[in-house]
Symmetry: C2
Subunit: 392 residues, 2 copies
């Protein structure tokens, strides 16, 4: 079976770009990834495009990927549009990975892109609210931030985490984001600023929540055959797993939660254990979700996720940096682009190209990183959990 | 590399079902395919769902597949939503095929589903019009039937095809559809009825055009490991190819057109030539497109596609039956479901289970069939061309 490599990555900065179309966002990321990979664009055999909401936000419901890539000058190749809510990008990445693994293609482009600032905020909010069963959840009136808040309250009741801890994770991630030129928000916050920002859904304040964003991220994946000619640059996809399952359950040990089970598949595939992971990008759509996810991923003991930030373990200078990019709350969360932006950050960190936010392990760049991207919710189930492990 | 088999197929009849939700349509097809496959539903490891327009027609923009499958009682597994306009179903089928080929899964469910009769025809028509670049084509005001009409006129100017020939293909396909319990339209038309029906875009009359439909089709795919225990029923996926390219070009020989090139890849993969194909389902969104497609697929000489119907070659009793199901114009064209309905028809024909419309080759059911599903258009390019070859 073919091994699969990431040959190049590229992004359009995340943020608010009302003057730019989804085509322009996507094209910039695509060409950055092609340049980074150093491949002749004519060697790209296929493309997978992850996007969640363009049908509702731009009106381009069908063949959105074909339309964007044609604007970027890429046509006449097979293109597949993939949607999996907030995990659309990582799902597209996984489909490209599978196609190369199956021996179908040698060079594949993956694009994740989202356009939410369209001049009609209500329209974008309605689109975002479709990441659940619109008939069931829509009628209940409970929206996503409220659901995250319930999870965090549940966590705080089970463990010793305080509002101070919720603020500390934002302080860490906003500092990381301040060092990331692709981040939507580049202001480092203090604990006081985080705690005194507007209460959205108790205990979550404004600065603890990811917000709307435009943005794009792209990657060029390739087979072993192609990677051989690019030895200096290649990063290997050591594991890829996709799943779904119950949102959170404190009656289960972390490794038996839905994220824990999908992670175990990924560790097994990569032939490693959680202790081999040196850093991770996780899905902090609400910042403190980072605690729970670190526990499910096996980065700490049950109930000790909040101690990682208290003790500085998850800082970029710590033993186990989490969200060195700034994560969803600081780098930003243009839905379909997020999963590939996580991959891009891991690639840059592994290559030692992350600039001021570069993490060091034993005086060189790290060797192994993990990305956790989740999406959607139906009843109490996460609709999508996507995990990738990359190594150099 | 693993071989891939179709273990079961199932459909919800195509047609106008204003009282049924997209969930109900999808669930019926899913359970029919599970029953047909004879598998324990708990052995299904993953699902791919093809749908083009639910975001605009039902409001369920994100995780549409997860929502539909959960209604059908299928959750906690990886699910990927795939969109490729009118070829969404066959693209989902191909992604499942690739995942099994890569050794990722052994049993995968594929669903294609569409809900267009929502009580708001204008909304559905607007959705259908997004199978092109909405900024470019939308502004030109040219819609799909007009584009098909231009292609047919071009064909008629190049060759000897007459309006009579355009009617004959509808007579054939409507007869086939009259024998298909899953077909939207079950009335066989005469040439006179076809030619005297309302002119839509000259030379296309009403009965030459596929219309709006609700419907669903599903398939269970499996690896060799699983297929071994179901030897009596299995149909093998001998070839799968996906591409895009110029719509039609009379300066090129048929095998060098975009469909011709994608077909060649598929023949090469299957290790066969066009003359080994015994019957086919093709993409007759406008009935006479069948002529052009048969030429590109190599079923006849250039410019002789219309003679296949004149001479009865493409009848279900002929040498090379085309669209035994009734095709898009008679079986119906609920966009995301069409590609998998084509696959289902081929599976039934290969197994000798097509009832009154069963085609016979040398007194037994055929051994090899092909499905051509296309989707979307940007400028003069087909956005998607998907071809599958199945054998028993």
């Amino acid at each position: 079976m073919d091994e699969v490599f990431v040959l190049g990555v590229g992004m359009h900065r995340f943020g608010k770009f009302p003057e730019k179309s989804i085509k322009e966002l996507g094209a910039e990321a695509v060409w950055a990834s092609i340049k980074d990979a150093g491949v002749d664009p004519h060697t790209i055999e296929a493309a997978y495009v992850g996007n969640a909401y363009a049908g509702l936000t731009t009106g381009q419901e069908a063949i959105r990927g074909q339309v964007i890539l044609r604007y970027a000058g890429i046509s006449k190749i097979p293109i597949v549009n993939v949607e999996n809510a907030c995990a659309s990008g990582s799902t597209a990445f996984r489909e490209a990975y599978i196609a190369i693994k199956a021996g179908i293609y040698d060079v594949v482009l993956v694009l994740g892109v989202e356009k939410l600032f369209t001049g009609n905020t209500a329209k974008s909010l309605r689109a975002l609210a479709t990441a659940t069963d619109v008939e069931l959840m829509g009628r209940s009136g409970v929206q996503f931030t409220a659901l995250y808040a319930m999870d965090i309250r549940n966590y705080m009741e089970n463990y010793e985490a305080t509002p101070e801890h919720l603020a500390m994770v934002v302080v860490k991630n906003s500092y990381n984001g301040s060092l990331n030129p692709y981040a939507q928000f580049r202001k480092p916050f203090t604990r006081e600023e985080v705690l005194s920002s507007k209460m959205i859904a108790e205990p979550l304040t404004l600065y603890m929540c990811s917000s709307m964003a435009d943005g794009a991220a792209a990657a060029i994946l390739c087979s072993n055959k192609i990677a051989r000619n690019h030895l200096m640059k290649t990063v290997r996809v050591a594991g890829s797993s996709l799943g779904s399952g119950q949102f959170q359950n404190y009656l289960l040990p972390p490794e038996e939660t839905s994220i824990g089970r999908v992670a175990r598949l990924c560790y097994e595939q990569a032939g490693i254990s959680p202790s081999d992971i040196e850093f991770a990008e996780v899905h902090d759509a609400a910042a403190p979700s980072e605690f729970i996810q670190c526990e499910s991923l096996g980065f700490c003991k049950p109930g000790e996720g909040f101690l990682m930030v208290e003790k500085g373990v998850s800082n970029i200078t710590g033993r186990m940096p989490i969200n060195p990019s700034g994560g969803l709350t600081s780098r930003g969360h243009p839905v379909g682009a997020t999963g590939i932006a996580q991959i891009a950050e891991i690639v840059w960190q592994l290559r030692g190209q992350a600039g001021e936010r570069q993490i060091k392990k034993d005086k060189s760049s790290p060797k192994t990183g993990l990305a956790l991207n989740t999406g959607g919710r139906i009843d109490n189930d996460r609709a999508v959990i996507a995990i990738h492990i990359l190594t150099r």
